[in-house]
């Protein structure tokens, strides 16, 4: 089952990654009960690493193919942890069915959705 979660190299998206107020994480493939533990470990590390200089976490989900309740639970938990220090979690560029899923899950207040990483930055840091 294909799943990858990583910090993108600085030149891969054409936009400035080392942004003072946000951390970009790329999630690709299938985020389900088999892969949610890996996602949780990775994201939790980002939450902890950033404690001294809190940043929003923007997940580039353009190549995320699948997300189920197990994956949603992880995202919601991370979003709750981020909130404690005034930070937000955003899912950026996700396919329509995944955006709808967040909507019907009732978690849209926690897991923010944007068209792209750039759109999220614009909305969050205007």
């Amino acid at each position: 089952m294909h799943f990858k979660i990583y910090i993108p190299p600085p030149d891969s998206t054409g936009c400035e990654i080392a942004n003072a107020a946000s951390a970009v994480v790329v999630a690709e493939g299938v985020l389900n009960s088999h892969t949610s533990a890996e996602a949780q470990r990775f994201l939790q590390k980002q939450v902890q690493l950033d404690v001294t200089a809190p940043r929003h976490v923007l997940i580039d989900a353009a190549r995320l193919e699948y997300l189920n309740s197990s994956g949603l639970r992880v995202l919601a938990q991370i979003a709750r942890d981020l909130r404690k220090t005034g930070r937000k979690l955003a899912l950026c560029g996700a396919a329509d069915p995944l955006r709808e899923l967040v909507e019907v899950s009732g978690l849209a207040g926690l897991i923010l959705k944007y068209e792209s990483v750039a759109a999220a930055r614009e909305a969050l840091f205007e």
């Binding site: 088999h34 329509d96 069915p97």
Partner: protein, 164 residues
């Protein structure tokens, strides 16, 4: 029955989930389902089958889980048949969406999503089998984002409703 139909028999093993999602994708592609429809069935059936394996069969059963999908008059029906002790997956209380996102428990989410993705869900126990029925009216790729809230009746398809 002349309607297009396909069946897969799964073992009580979480590794079977991958076969299940391949089965749904193949059925969907063969019958022109949109990406949204395939996603809705994959999500719902994976959730239900995982629950049967973990809580119904408690992981180690020799008994099968049989999933059947059919399409008729623009509606896809899926049936899940297992022989675990009687359990209605839809009997659980609705997720309380009036609670703030901070206070809301995250459990029960899978079944909540399944109900939201389907137009009708039904359960009955008969002759030692749990039978779960899912119906969804097909949405084209341009059908927009509307997912009916609550369970609606299946429009224009009154011949195949197995109400408990």
């Amino acid at each position: 029955m002349s309607e297009p139909k396909a069946t897969i028999t799964l073992r009580s093993d979480l590794a079977e989930i991958e076969r299940l999602s391949e089965f749904i994708a193949e059925f969907g592609e063969a019958h022109g389902l949109s990406h949204k429809d395939i996603f809705a069935f994959t999500l719902s059936l994976e959730e239900l089958v995982t629950n049967v394996i973990n809580y119904g069969y408690k992981g180690d059963s020799e008994l099968p889980i049989v999933v059947t999908m059919s399409v008729h008059d623009g509606t896809v029906c899926a049936t899940l048949d297992d022989q675990a002790p009687p359990f209605d997956p839809f009997s659980r209380k609705e997720v309380d969406t009036t609670l703030s996102v901070e206070d809301r428990p995250i459990g029960g989410l899978g079944i909540h999503l399944c109900k939201k993705m389907m137009d009708t869900v039904a359960y009955r126990f008969t002759e030692g089998h749990n039978l779960v029925h899912l119906h969804r009216v097909l949405r084209g790729p341009s059908a927009g984002v509307a997912v009916p809230s609550g369970s609606a009746e299946v429009p224009g398809d009154g011949d195949d409703n197995d109400e408990p």
